[in-house]
């Protein structure tokens, strides 16, 4: 069996990338080159308007707005209508597409993009751009945007979770889970604060996938040429058990109700009430503000039991173009859109995101510049350099984010059973079994898996029926006096 989620593991990021020269100019910073790239020789006589959905955060938008201003100066014939405040994820785009209101250009995560591409809502860029275009981006990032050999989007950042720790409590970043437990226990007994805070029961499987991988698990397997969930494994049981033990046996992990800097997890970290959390660089600002030089970042540890690294998903966010069927765009608008997405993912644009919002660049050249800056210690304040290094270090040990459509059904299946497990309602084995079954069920219901014999649903108990019936009939037994 081969594992689709692991087939294209190209996790190591080269320190520099050399651009291969081809006949087509690939300088996406030059307006003229960009026009040629999409097959235009001169600006068209009539201006075109493209609609753009912008899902950047407030700080990212600062960078984007500069880029946009630049773009409009260089392409006066392209008028960009930006919709701010769009959320990532498929649903908003789909509803709009159904109503013929889809934007021409859209920024989304690679996995949502994959689902949209699979459903035909997103343009196949391979038909418009030369294959060599991929060389402009980090391989890790650009491969996230390929499905069945077709390119459907251009990345502007990569993202993943890392380990943040508070240097006040943690002497050195744990390298293995053994050390993680040790340090956490020590923190716990010395400072009477939590060693780790992890919103395990708020998990939809994004963060957890790293630990699952550390126990040598993978989300999908292929059976008879069909992609099939692979959650009901000892890897899952052990990974679940690992966190369960941290929480309930060693009692070093705080079972947080919500994740991220805005969640309880992050708030505890900010308030110096926990030493370690696992979170992404998008929350860096919040932690930096609170902890300053005490903040440390490092890759996730090696799982001592297996000797494998906990590998987070290397995700990517990037720009897509809606298929003309969804947006009703004309060929010229498509061309303008191509110019736009190439432009906003070019060196200058991506570097701006890095400089202003600390997004990890997906543009290879921008990435190189970022690394160089780090190596030169040019970031201010100076301790930020080591933090960013720690963050970038993690990129070496990531797993590819599966962007196949099946992935959409993983999250809830995982969440449902993991949260039950962490609530102590079922065993790890039951959880692993349950989540796979739910996953399969969801795939079957959505037509992504067929001819599978699902186990029969559990019959409701007699008391259930009694309850339901009595609830329905209760009005009938109200005392006559109460008749109105």
């Amino acid at each position: 069996t081969s594992h689709p989620s692991k087939t294209t593991v190209t996790t190591t990021v080269p320190s520099t990338i050399t651009t291969t020269t081809t006949s087509v100019p690939l300088n996406t910073s030059n307006p003229q080159d960009l026009m040629e790239l999409v097959g235009l020789t001169s600006p068209p006589s009539t201006p075109v308007t493209i609609t753009v959905w912008d899902s950047y955060s407030t700080s990212e938008n600062q960078a984007f707005n500069q880029t946009l201003a630049q773009f409009e100066k260089e392409f006066p014939w392209i008028h960009v209508e930006v919709t701010y405040g769009v959320g990532v994820g498929t649903s908003q785009f789909e509803t709009a597409a159904k109503a013929d209101q889809a934007p021409i250009v859209y920024r989304d995560t690679s996995d949502s993009g994959g689902a949209l591409f699979a459903s035909g809502l997103v343009l196949n860029l391979s038909q418009y751009l030369p294959p060599s275009i991929t060389s402009l981006y980090l391989p890790t990032a650009i491969h996230d945007w390929e499905l069945n050999g077709s390119l459907y989007g251009l990345p502007d950042d990569i993202n993943y979770i890392v380990m943040f720790y508070n240097k006040k409590f943690v002497p050195y970043p744990p390298n293995t889970t053994q050390q993680l437990i040790q340090i956490a226990e020590q923190v716990n007994s010395t400072y009477h604060i939590w060693g780790i805070a992890y919103g395990a029961s708020d998990e939809y499987g994004y963060r957890f996938a790293a630990w699952f991988a550390g126990y040598d698990g993978q989300i999908f397997t292929t059976m008879n040429g069909q992609v099939y969930p692979d959650l009901n494994t000892t890897a899952m049981v052990e990974a679940l058990q690992f966190w369960y033990n941290l929480t309930y046996v060693y009692k070093v992990n705080y079972l947080a109700p919500s994740t991220g800097a805005g969640g309880v997890e992050g708030q505890l970290f900010i308030a110096n009430k926990t030493a370690i959390i696992f979170d992404g660089p998008w929350d860096l600002d919040a932690y930096l503000q609170a902890l300053g030089p005490n903040l440390g970042a490092a890759p996730l540890p090696v799982v001592s039991q297996t000797g494998l690294r906990a590998e987070p998903f290397i995700g990517s966010t990037g720009w897509l173009i809606a298929s003309p069927q969804a947006s009703g765009a004309s060929p010229l608008q498509i061309k303008a859109a191509l110019i736009f997405i190439l432009y906003v993912t070019n060196y200058q644009s991506d570097l701006r995101l890095w400089n202003i919002a600390h997004d990890i660049p997906a543009n290879a050249q921008a990435y190189n510049t970022a690394i160089a800056e780090l190596n030169a210690g040019e970031l201010k304040p100076s301790y930020l350099n080591s933090i960013m290094k720690g963050i970038l270090e993690q990129a070496k040990y990531g797993q590819k984010f599966p962007n196949i459509p099946q992935m959409a059904y993983y999250w809830n299946s995982f969440h449902e059973y993991a949260s039950e497990f962490f609530a102590g309602k079922i065993s790890a084995q039951q959880a692993a079994q349950g989540m796979e079954q739910a996953f399969v069920q969801a795939l079957v219901q959505n037509g992504l898996l067929s001819s599978i014999n699902l186990p029969p649903p559990p019959l409701p108990t007699l008391s259930t029926y009694v309850l339901i019936l009595s609830a329905i009939l209760s009005p009938l037994v109200i005392d006559r006096r109460w008749k109105i």
Partner: protein, 293 residues
């Protein structure tokens, strides 16, 4: 005469138009969609597949769990908040109580304040052991802490108490309003006849308010049944799906799985159940007679 009727009809026309646009059309659309396979992967080209979605729901879905959850959520919320609202209305309705309007003004604040914020705040208040509920209030009352992550029971307590907070001012207002419409003479004469406070309550107050109670009950039953935000924000249906209701589940089906047809089927089933329940109640209690008659 006929012209008169036509004119009368113009008065009812706006609501009819609006109802058709805002409820009947979506309902018909939803029923139609539920018989197709519209989903992300059958987006532009979807086809009619009959009752397959409904079969799926009953075959593999969580129908029973969701029905029970929905009933717990609806009845649990409704009974407690009606009782609380009623009780406060009774307290406020005492004639010799001073400062009623100040208390009333404070007590309706939860209703007046933006609910989407209140819910987030409550989420924070319930965090075990850091939220003030578990840190300050429950210990003060000598109650055990509540952790919705580890216990279904706690999750329900959290949901229902929060929902009570959000809604009791409404019920208080309704009942206070209705209590004030009971003629005082009824109480006076009962007092002369020797009725005790309890007898007055059970023999006069309650029967006088039964119409109000019934109307508010049905209307709020439907509202609570369909109320989605508290669960979505507070527990997200967890742990597992133990606090998930039809509506929350249908929402997830639509927006997480992009299976619009299945989501429509879930919504339709949910609506069908309340309509049946409501029709039984309406027919049996004649509650709508003076409202619609």
């Amino acid at each position: 005469m006929r012209k008169d009727k036509l004119f009368s009809f113009f008065y009812i026309l706006p609501i009819l138009v609006v109802t058709v646009i805002l409820f009947v059309f979506p309902l018909v659309y939803s029923v139609y969609i539920s018989f197709t396979n519209l989903s992300l992967f059958h987006f532009f080209k979807y086809s009619f597949i009959g009752i397959e979605n409904y079969i799926l729901i009953f075959k593999y879905g969580y129908f029973n769990t969701l029905l029970i959850n929905t009933l717990i959520w609806t009845l649990g919320s409704l009974i407690t908040m009606m009782a609380l609202g009623f009780f406060l209305a009774l307290i406020l309705n005492q004639r010799d109580l001073k400062g009623k309007s100040i208390f009333y003004a404070i007590l309706i604040l939860p209703w007046a304040f933006p609910g989407f914020i209140s819910l987030l705040i409550w989420q924070g208040l319930w965090v075990d052991p850091y939220g003030m509920m578990n840190r300050l209030i429950l210990p003060l009352l000598h109650l055990p802490p509540v952790n919705s992550l580890t216990s279904t029971k706690d999750a329900w307590i959290e949901l229902i108490v929060t929902n009570d907070w959000l809604s009791f001012p409404y019920f208080m207002t309704v009942f206070y309003s209705a209590l004030q419409s009971i003629p005082r003479e009824l109480y006076e004469i009962a007092e002369l006849d020797g009725a005790s406070t309890f007898q007055k309550f059970f023999r006069i107050t309650l029967p006088s308010l039964k119409r109000t109670i019934a109307f508010v009950f049905i209307t709020s039953f439907v509202f609570t049944w369909n109320n989605f935000y508290p669960i979505f924000v507070l527990t997200g249906g967890g742990p597992g799906i133990s606090t998930e209701t039809f509506i929350v589940y249908a929402y997830e089906e639509a927006f997480d799985y992009n299976n619009f047809a299945l989501a429509a089927a879930w919504s339709n089933i949910s609506t069908l159940i309340i309509i049946i329940l409501a029709i039984i109640v309406i027919k049996y209690t004649h509650i709508l007679d003076n409202i619609a008659g």
